[in-house]
């Protein structure tokens, strides 16, 4: 929390994700332009920016749904293993590099129960335990034991997400806030080292936002998973993130602690949309409002 603003040099182990010179072109449109940043292990990194800034595109590049036009995305696991994410197919990024994600528009398996959703997330582990189906079909091997363990893991995350009472209900039957939490719990069931959340607080009421903050903090503390999130809800961003990266028109305009970013004139200009020479006035206005509104 009390880190100096900007990029200070640190030991290699601290960095879990390193994005270098990332560019993504759609036809003639430069959605992301030479974007670089680092996410530290065990921290919550927030990626913010106005609508259309390219935040979700960055996520899609990290999780393999898009292949970047240029740039390098390096993920360094706890064990020291490194993966170049731009070279892996999307499902292997989750399977091998241990990066999980959620979606801006919730993507649950709505016709399956909450528990089943969490079991699908443990597919690769269970697949191996069932001898790629063959042994499991014949009832030999350790599938039964592994399947019991997978239910225990699912139960753990259901407790964490406060969904344990809804375990046997269809996922489509949950309220919006509960579906958001379930999607995070499902991503956690893949046992990721790095979790990407695309607008986890979108559409949540203040009480649900507070529960979400609690969940994210416990994920960072208990599971040791580093989190990166896109968020518009500043109460979530400023409260829980350790590090904020600001994107505008595909370029990074600010990078540092929430305090630093909040006071960065460029960020204020990007959000309020003013000319460069008016920035000074804006800062003065924001500072005078700050005491009352943000407290």
């Amino acid at each position: 929390m009390t880190m100096a603003p900007g990029n200070t040099t640190m030991s290699k182990d601290d960095i879990i994700l390193k994005v270098e010179h990332l560019s993504m072109k759609f036809g003639g449109l430069m959605a992301i332009n030479d974007f670089s940043f680092e996410a530290k292990r065990g921290e919550i990194t927030a990626l913010i920016g106005p609508n259309g800034a390219g935040k979700t595109t960055v996520f899609n590049c990290i999780t393999g749904f898009y292949k970047p036009t240029m740039g390098m995305i390096t993920l360094r696991q706890k064990s020291g293993k490194e993966f170049l994410l731009e070279r892996l197919p999307d499902f292997e990024i989750t399977k091998k590099a241990k990066v999980a994600r959620t979606f801006q528009n919730i993507r649950l398996f709505s016709g399956m129960t909450v528990l089943e959703n969490l079991l699908v997330a443990q597919h690769n582990k269970l697949m191996k335990a069932s001898g790629y189906t063959v042994m499991g079909l014949l009832g030999i091997g350790g599938y039964k034991a592994e399947s019991r363990r997978s239910i225990e893991l699912a139960e753990h995350w259901l407790e964490m997400a406060d969904l344990i009472d809804r375990a046997d209900d269809p996922a489509g039957d949950l309220s919006y806030g509960a579906q958001r939490r379930l999607e995070i719990a499902r991503a956690m069931c893949t046992e990721p080292e790095f979790l990407c959340l695309d607008e986890p607080a979108a559409g949540l009421n203040p009480a649900e936002s507070a529960t979400l903050n609690k969940l994210l903090r416990s994920i960072r503390a208990d599971a040791g998973t580093s989190i990166m999130l896109i968020e518009h809800d500043m109460s979530v961003v400023m409260e829980i993130s350790d590090h904020v990266v600001v994107l505008e028109y595909g370029r990074k305009i600010s990078d540092g602690t929430p305090e630093h970013v909040k006071n960065d004139p460029k960020v204020i200009a990007a959000y309020l949309g003013v000319d460069d020479d008016e920035v000074e006035d804006v800062i003065a206005t924001v500072e005078s409002l700050d005491g009352g509104a943000n407290g």
């Binding site: 999780t63 749904f65 999307d90 499902f91 292997e92 990024i93 989750t94 399977k95 999980a100 994600r101 959620t102 979606f103 993507r107 649950l108 398996f109 709505s110 016709g111 399956m112 129960t113 528990l115 089943e116 079991l119 699908v120 997330a121 443990q122 597919h123 690769n124 269970l126 697949m127 069932s130 189906t133 499991g136 079909l137 599938y143 239910i151 139960e155 344990i164 375990a167 046997d168 209900d169 269809p170 996922a171 489509g172 039957d173 499902r186 991503a187 893949t190």
Partner: protein, 460 residues
């Protein structure tokens, strides 16, 4: 609505009175409606003159059906519907019904095991042929095909309009390999399954990137290609003539024929073709049970859950580290494998295969059975096959219709008309098929069925 409330508050005799009144009214209307359409028939006589005659009997049948039907609707149907509605509103958890539901598959199995014996007992060995072969075996083949296609369409949500291709691959694998190389049924049964699975993968590869309508069109074309190859590669397949005198299946090497060491002679029974049919009945029953067992087991395995997840949301699957390519290919392959088993059984049963048996209509019927039964539900599909295939077979038996419609009336020609009407009706009242809900594959505290409104049909 007012009538319904009336009937539920007033005593029984009032209901009958009302029924009679409405029945007579319906009869009068039917008489007026059908007098010219049914009651009068115009014909040309030998002098080329147009003459008319009355068909009082046919008219009377229609009027009576209308009157009695209305009477039954008012006295039985409406109170029953009202009671059901009230039941649904109160959400009475009927434990007796669910116990019956649980026991139903077991009861059905016991009935199926005893079915050939019953048929022989009631109709004699020769008379039982019709019931065992036309009804029993025919329906069970479609049950198996439906269950096989269910893996692809119902579980994985990949719309396959060319499923009959795998049925054809299985049938021709057995027909060709047994006539050319003399291999036995028991070697070729698994082999046809493997070959069909192989062709399932071959179909799977090009369509991996396709979804929905596009996937359906390509699978349809694939089915046609297989059929056209069978027709035109006449050096091997003998084209439209088909392959005849395919060896029959044997039971541990015992043949089912009239020879000295045939089954009938060994068992000391009078020679009859009924024994072979009964043997085939148990064989297809065993194959069906195998299909059901494997499907039920697979659903609880990671691969089965991945299929269903694929149907629900493919992008989410990829985000969870599921390899959607292998998942789709295994669905195609395993679905095709059961089609191949059914195909080789079909060839062994008929003793003759020709491309005519593998037209698009067959694919459509199998798909209709899966959709009517409720995608993903084994029980529903079995019921749909029973209704659809059993129903069309039953049409052949309806000789009495000739009394009404005249001696030229052949009911089985109306098969497709009734098939279509039945589909429209079922889809109107049960848009998710006979069994619309989904059984979860795992549960923490209690197993609750997932309502059909949450499950997706898949996008291909």
């Amino acid at each position: 609505m007012a009538a319904v409330q009336n009937s539920s508050t007033h005593p029984e005799d009032n209901l009958v009175q009302k029924g009679i009144k409405e029945g007579i009214f319906a009869g009068v209307i039917a008489f007026g409606l059908f007098l010219l359409y049914i009651g009068v028939v115009t014909e040309q006589n030998i002098h080329n003159e147009l003459v008319y005659r009355f068909r009082w009997f046919a008219l009377a049948v229609f009027v009576i059906i209308a009157a009695v039907g209305r009477f039954l609707v008012v006295t039985v149907g409406q109170p029953w519907l009202a009671a059901r509605k009230a039941d649904a509103k109160n959400k009475v958890a009927d434990s007796g019904e669910s116990a019956l539901k649980k026991a139903l598959p077991k009861l059905a199995l016991v009935f199926l095991l005893a079915y050939p014996m019953l048929a022989v007992g009631l109709a004699g060995p020769q008379g039982s042929l019709k019931y065992v072969d036309n009804f029993g075996i025919q329906i069970l083949i479609y049950v198996m095909l439906g269950w096989g296609l269910n893996i692809v369409v119902g579980l994985a949500g990949l719309l396959d309009l060319g499923y009959v291709a795998f049925y054809a691959v299985g049938a021709y694998s057995y027909a060709l390999l047994s006539t050319y190389f003399g291999l036995s049924f028991w070697v070729l049964l698994p082999l046809s399954g493997i070959l069909a699975a192989f062709w399932g993968m071959i179909l799977g590869f090009p369509v991996l990137r396709l979804r929905g309508d596009y996937l359906a069109i390509v699978t349809l074309a694939f089915g046609e290609i297989i059929r056209l190859v069978l027709i035109n590669w006449s050096d091997v397949t003998k084209g439209t003539f088909g392959i005849s005198s395919i060896p029959k299946a044997t039971l541990f090497g015992i043949k089912f024929d009239a020879s000295k060491d045939g089954f009938a002679a060994l068992m000391g029974l009078a020679p009859s073709s009924a024994y072979y049919k009964i043997f085939l009945f148990y064989l297809i029953l065993a194959l069906c049970l195998l299909t059901a067992y494997v499907t039920i087991r697979l659903r609880r395995m990671p691969i089965g859950r991945a299929w269903e997840a694929l149907r629900e949301d493919e992008i989410a699957c990829r985000a969870l580290g599921i390899n959607t390519v292998t998942t789709k290919l295994t669905a195609f392959a395993i679905g095709a494998m059961f089609g191949g088993f059914a195909g080789s059984f079909f060839a062994a049963r008929q003793g003759f295969v020709s491309p005519d048996s593998f037209i698009f209509m067959e694919s459509a019927i199998i798909l209709a059975i899966v959709v009517l039964g409720g995608m993903g539900s084994l029980g529903g599909i079995a019921v749909a096959a029973l209704v659809m295939i059993g129903g069309t077979e039953l049409l052949r038996e309806m000789e009495f219709l000739k009394v009404i419609f005249g001696p030229d009336f052949t009911p089985e020609l109306y098969r497709m008309l009734l098939f279509g009407a039945a589909m429209v009706l079922v889809m109107l009242f049960k848009p998710r098929g006979f069994v619309g809900s989904r059984e979860p594959t795992a549960f923490l505290r209690e197993r609750k069925a997932v309502s059909g409104s949450f499950t997706k049909e898949g996008h291909g």
